[in-house]
Symmetry: C2
Subunit: 134 residues, 2 copies
C-alpha cells in the first residue's frame, strides 16, 4: 500500500537558523519560507535527490507542533510521510486492521495541496505517520 | 554536500511486530532480520520505491538504542541518514563550520558495510544525523 517516502518533517524553534544550517553547513537546496496559516506552521523544504525534508516552525496560537517543541526543546523529527495512491482506500484498509486514524478520519488538504491523513503514533511504533495521496 | 536520504531509522521494542506492521498493515516490502552484534542491534529494512526505513531492535547488553527506548517506550524515529560522496571531506567541512562529530571522529563501518559517522543532535535541530559514504 505505501509508496514513496514523500518527506520527513523536522520541528524547529528557529526556521531561519535551521534553513541556514541545511543550506550552508549541509550544502542542500532549500526553498523559501511559506507561512501556512491554515496549518499553524511556517514551512521550508529541503530538496534531496530522492525525497524532501520539511522544516516546521510554529506559527500563531495553538500550533499543532507547539507541544512537541515543549517536550523536545532542541527540535526533532516530528513525522514521516508516505505516499498512497488512494487515501480513502488506504484509510479503510488500515481501519479494518485496527489502526487508528487521527481526527474525524476524513482526509484534509495538507501543506502541499493534496489530501492527507495522520495515523496514531501508538499504532505505528511511536511514529507519527502522515499519508498523502500522491 | 549531502546527497540522497539513505534511510530513516526507527527504534522498536519488538522488531517482529514492527515488521509485521509494515508488511501486513502498510503493505511494504520487508527484509529478513539481521543480528548486527558489532552494532548492538537487530535490523530489518523496509524498501520503499525511493529510500529505506531501517527498523532497529536492541541486541545484547549496552545496545546504543537502549536509552532511547527508555525515553520513548513506544519506539520512535531514532536517526536519519544522508549520503555523502567523501565522508572524510564532509567531516572536515562540518567541523570547520563548528559542527560536532560523535565519537573519535573517525568513520566506522556501519550496518551496511560502508563508512559512517554520526553528528551531534544539538548541532542539527535535535536530530541525530548519520552520514554514510555512498
Amino acid at each position: 500500500m505505501i509508496g514513496r517516502l514523500n518527506h520527513v518533517a523536522i520541528a524547529v524553534r528557529d526556521i531561519e537558523a535551521a534553513t541556514a544550517l541545511y543550506r550552508d553547513t549541509l550544502g542542500a537546496d532549500v526553498s523559501e519560507q511559506v507561512a501556512q496559516h491554515a496549518h499553524g506552521v511556517t514551512t521550508v523544504f529541503i530538496t534531496l535527490p530522492n525525497t524532501k525534508i520539511e522544516l516546521l516552525e510554529p506559527l500563531g496560537e495553538g500550533s499543532p507542533i507547539a507541544k512537541f517543541l515543549d517536550r523536545n526543546p532542541d527540535g526533532g523529527i516530528h513525522h514521516i510521510c508516505y505516499e498512497v495512491a488512494d487515501i480513502r482506500a488506504a484509510r479503510d484498509q488500515l481501519k479494518a486492521k485496527g489502526a487508528r486514524v487521527l481526527g474525524d478520519g476524513e482526509p484534509k488538504i495538507g501543506a502541499h495541496g493534496k489530501p492527507v491523513l495522520f495515523l496514531h503514533p501508538k499504532d505505528f511504533t511511536g511514529t507519527l505517520v502522515e499519508l498523502e495521496e500522491a
